[in-house]
């Protein structure tokens, strides 16, 4: 298996008590690209990302991250931003940054300060006092302040005001280092993020319904990814 594949997923299955979240998903993501993981709610996007970072245990299939199966070592290579509010609310922004920085060797202290300024966050503020948009920006700072080879963002724009959304998109564009990083952004809000994606995967009820290079798909179908998304999931 080639190690220049940032992430390879083969025949991944995951069943919850009430639904089959993934029914044999296979993907291969080359290094240095931003992939859009697109699909409506309940299509299996979050479950797929959770399987990659070890938050849920797959029922079948294989995952390799830079050629290695998921382990403590691969956890050190992945920066994950979940859709849920995973921050300790009693902490200040600075405490959350210091806490996270302790565990990752690829942490870049200069980048944190730059991102705090760019995202307009006051590090002395308590997380419990932040708006949803501010918390989303903080979660992104915690992921982008690392030189992690694989960055996974699960619905980073969900329920976020347009101003915060624009900041987040700009932050991603500024901080992403294509020569050493790969990013997956799961979203069902394709319109605002389409320009970010080098390639896309459409997930539908736990299966891949379409995948490919974003530009090739636009050319092949003669429409934008957003229009294609609407057509596939109409």
């Amino acid at each position: 298996m080639s190690t220049n594949q940032a992430l390879v997923v083969r025949d991944l299955k995951k069943k919850y008590p009430k639904a089959d979240a993934l029914k044999g998903v296979s993907l291969s993501l080359p290094q240095g690209e931003i992939w859009g993981l697109l699909g409506p709610n309940g299509s299996g996007k979050s479950t797929l990302l959770k399987c990659v970072v070890g938050l849920v245990t797959p029922d079948g299939g294989d995952i390799t991250i830079s050629g290695q199966p998921p382990s403590r070592e691969t956890k050190a290579q992945v920066a994950f931003v979940p859709e849920v509010e995973n921050l300790y609310r009693w902490m200040t922004i600075r405490q959350a940054i210091d806490f996270t920085a302790t565990f990752y060797e690829d942490w870049e202290h200069e980048r944190v300060e730059e991102l705090l300024n760019f995202m307009r966050l006051d590090p002395t503020k308590k997380i419990s006092s932040l708006s949803k948009g501010m918390r989303a920006r903080l979660k992104l700072i915690l992921a982008l302040s690392r030189r992690a080879p694989l960055i996974l963002l699960d619905e980073p724009f969900s329920g976020i005001d347009p101003a915060s959304r624009d900041r987040i998109v700009e932050g991603i564009v500024r901080q992403f280092k294509s020569e050493e990083q790969t990013m997956i952004i799961s979203t069902h809000a394709v319109g605002d993020t389409e320009q970010l994606f080098d390639a896309v995967v459409f997930l539908d009820e736990g299966t891949v319904s379409l995948q490919g290079n974003a530009e090739d798909l636009r050319r092949q179908y003669g429409r934008s990814i957003n229009d294609l998304f609407k057509e596939v999931f109409a």
């Binding site: 919850y16 970072v53 070890g54 979940p82």
Partner: protein, 254 residues
Amino acid sequence: MKSFLRLLRKDLEASRWPMGFLSAITLGIMLLVSLKIATGGWPTQAAIAAVTFPLVFLPLWVLWQSFQTLRTEWREDTVYTLLVLPEPGWKIMLAKLSAILLEYTVLLVVTVVGMLIFFFPMVQEAMLVLPGAGWVVRNGILLYVFSLFMIASTIIFVQLAFVVSKMVGRLQGLVALWTLLLSGWLVDRLGILLEPLFGWIPTIPVHALFRLNELKQGMVADWNIAPEIGTWLGTLALLVLTSYIFEHYVEVNG
């Protein structure tokens, strides 16, 4: 070590408000009782109840706190942060265990300090029938150390029960309860089974350890520690198992 200390600090900081509240309640009850005794409203024996209540309550609080500290991680979705850390499960579980032991110690100290502040005359009276302050402090520390073993075992059982319950999608409460009962029974059986292996270990002369002859001449109490060794080893194995399950098999809420 740095990451362990960071996790420990996080767990301690997370419970600083409940700890402050419990300390205040403990001291508040003692203050109230001491005022009632001073004004003649209550008999002096009420002081015993005021000191005993927190001491009886402490193990129950440990049981609750062991469960709550993990439950909060799931309820507030911060378990997403913990589970993606590139750290071994034992560090996370041991940090939680250590935090509860430290909190238990703090509450114990608060109770003792409160007793000395609010019921000093009664403490002085009690000292008259005891062999001396040195004897009381020594035996107090020994009892505290023994209680730490008991408390740590309780925390390990609860942690295992909670973590196992998070491996299943349904009936988590029932699974947790069964795991708790089963693990207690299991380490008990293990202690009995392994007893012959550790039979060579001499019994501990409790009367000498606690200097009981200073209290009453001729008191003899020996402790056969052989069955306990197996139980402790079993409990330690459960901690390792909990850590392994936490790192590899537990899931966030679907």
